[in-house]
Symmetry: C2
Subunit: 338 residues, 2 copies
DNA sequence: TCATTTGCTTTAATCGTTTAAAGTGATATA
DNA sequence: TATATCACTTTAAACGATTAAAGCAAATGA
């Protein structure tokens, strides 16, 4: 793979490297390069199929025009969606996105950040994993430009773009209540992640504000490591009891999938036997017999805001953005009126 | 973001940059650096949180230790699977993967390749889009190390890792025949892509070898741009006719999803009314009421082979690998015995 | 005593760009 | 005639690393 550099063009045309650089960077008039030379240079560049060496350019310019993105798990619908959104906005701004998936693992998360920083990305967009506060603090201390997305730590003041998870869960619960549901279960992960805890809080407050007395077994928390097994128990605790719930609200799309699989196995018809509400959707819902009513996050908007916030940081504006966006309810057929 | 370089460490310790470089590259003994200095240097690097500037390193070494990957569409299950597999193998070999999705668009495909080459990736792994022969020829002429994956052009001699698509389709069709099916439809994209045409050929040959007379309407080809609409017609031509088919074989997972959605809408029960066989699977199958019998591609193996072939090329071995791997049939419940 | 070896360290060129600064003829002005 | 201006072009120093090659004391050998 023989590479063509400025030097080759310069030799070909018989001018200096500097002149070639000026012309190919659109500074021909500014530097008053003669039309003759400019044309010759452009022609030679074309003919030799010149590709500027971005590595050398980056080294000189201290800018790679690259954003590092770390998502939690590439298998989440949220991840592919936000990756697309960020990629699109970045492209508009002439930035490239380097990308990794932490798989919710703290060590992988740190390794990825390290790898991205070594590659001199101009900044980071991160979906932080559980217990990664130390890492975030480190980044802040070393003044790396970064923006959190989807998740944030209330105890750390950072730029972030997230959902108003409290409101989203509150409104979802209220929606179910307004349909006439009185016994609403909520299935969440057992976690310390703030954004998921906010969903608990929204759910509980909606019950309270509507004078529904919360029963302890309604709130089920499963460990993500073996959610498929634990969700079985969780749903049993909610359905196979004296006063079974008439609706289940799943706190994430992954939980919904596990839950629906179980309900399928048990031949529990939706929404006849039970209403189902999902936080986020999944491609998998497409083939389910019943369209799932769910809360939708504004992924494009989140991606756009994250990129733009980051680019402001990169350009040394001292922005301080905490965005808590609103979700919308997409009505399917999985929640019936009682 | 103040950056720490070799120079900073050198100044701190009071030695030259070269010594620091030697020590931090594990050449301390080789270059006979005094233990005292070596320790001081390592300590300082640690304390200052030194991150080697890979950009500078790459410029000097003419190696970025980075592979460029272009997949056809990040929404395909194949794409995420192969991306993971390639990422894992690359990591083992201490390479990073830069990654883009062409969305089956020729221009995007070319742009991505260009962007990746500008970033001086050491080589490319590509899922070529339709009609990209010229681009592939260009790459070959400019001696860029690359490996095609999933798809190849029989008229161009390149390194590639693909499925034996003929065999896979042949065996799938044979499987349906052995279950007693005599009227088997095949739904494919209307395309010039070799790997998909091979599936046609495998299907047709299997029919012939089993003395089943092929009926023209059995082979349905839809345009990918509006497959959801066209597949409706396609299935009508196959099911709502005098002698309807008793099995449908979809040539890709995306076609299967579209098909199943239609069959759902029409309340056509699987496998009672019709057997369904899919090429590849999708996460979406998880929530379908009936596990879909499908041909599975050995993604891990493909990823491994692609990376290893590419790295041999990068290291100037003149390998010439054409891999056509075998698929396996994953038996679900969507094909019944007649 | 002088030369050589040993042990350790520094110097300086290089990778492919960018870009301020200096250079160079030709023409215009004083 | 001397000098300023103009219209270009080249020179050379970065950027942050790698790495031959050279440098330099102290120790050893003749």
């Amino acid at each position: 793979m023989k590479k063509v550099g400025l030097k080759d063009i310069a030799e070909h045309v018989g001018v200096s490297i500097a002149l070639v650089s000026y012309v190919l960077n659109g500074q021909a008039e500014l530097k008053q390069v003669s039309k003759e030379n400019a044309d010759k240079i452009r022609a030679a560049a074309e003919r030799l199929n010149y590709r500027p060496n971005q590595i050398a350019k980056s080294l000189k310019m201290h800018k790679t025009h690259t954003i590092g993105l770390v998502v939690a798990d590439i298998n989440y619908r949220f991840s592919t969606g936000i990756t697309r959104a960020i990629g699109a906005e970045a492209k508009k701004k002439n930035y490239t996105v380097l990308f990794g998936s932490s798989n919710e693992n703290k060590e992988t998360f740190e390794e990825l950040i390290s790898a991205l920083l070594n590659r001199q990305v101009d900044g980071l967009i991160l979906v932080p994993v559980e217990d990664s506060q130390d890492q975030i603090n480190m980044l802040q201390k070393s003044e790396v430009p970064f923006v959190l997305i989807d998740r944030n730590f209330p105890e750390i003041q950072t730029n972030y773009v997230a959902l108003d998870n409290y409101n989203a869960a509150y409104n979802a619960t209220k929606y179910l209540i307004e349909l006439g549901h009185q016994r609403i279960a909520f299935v969440n992960y057992k976690t310390t992640l703030f954004h998921l805890l906010e969903r608990n809080r929204g759910y509980l407050d909606a019950l309270k504000d509507n004078q529904i007395e919360f029963s302890r077994n309604w709130l089920q928390e499963v460990h993500s490591e073996n959610r498929n097994e634990e969700i079985t128990n969780a749903l049993d605790c909610v359905l196979n009891v004296d006063e079974p719930c008439d609706a289940v609200f799943f706190a994430t799309d992954t939980l919904t999938i596990s839950g629906l699989k179980y309900l399928n196995r048990q031949n529990i018809q939706i929404p006849v036997k039970i209403s189902v509400f999902s936080f986020d959707e999944s491609e998998a819902f497409d083939l389910f017999y019943c369209p799932i009513t769910h809360a939708r996050q504004p992924l494009e908007e989140m991606g756009r805001m994250a990129v733009n916030t980051l680019l402001e940081l990169v350009n040394h504006s001292l922005v301080n953005n905490q965005f808590n966006l609103e979700s919308t309810i997409v009505v399917g057929k999985s929640c019936r009126e009682l």
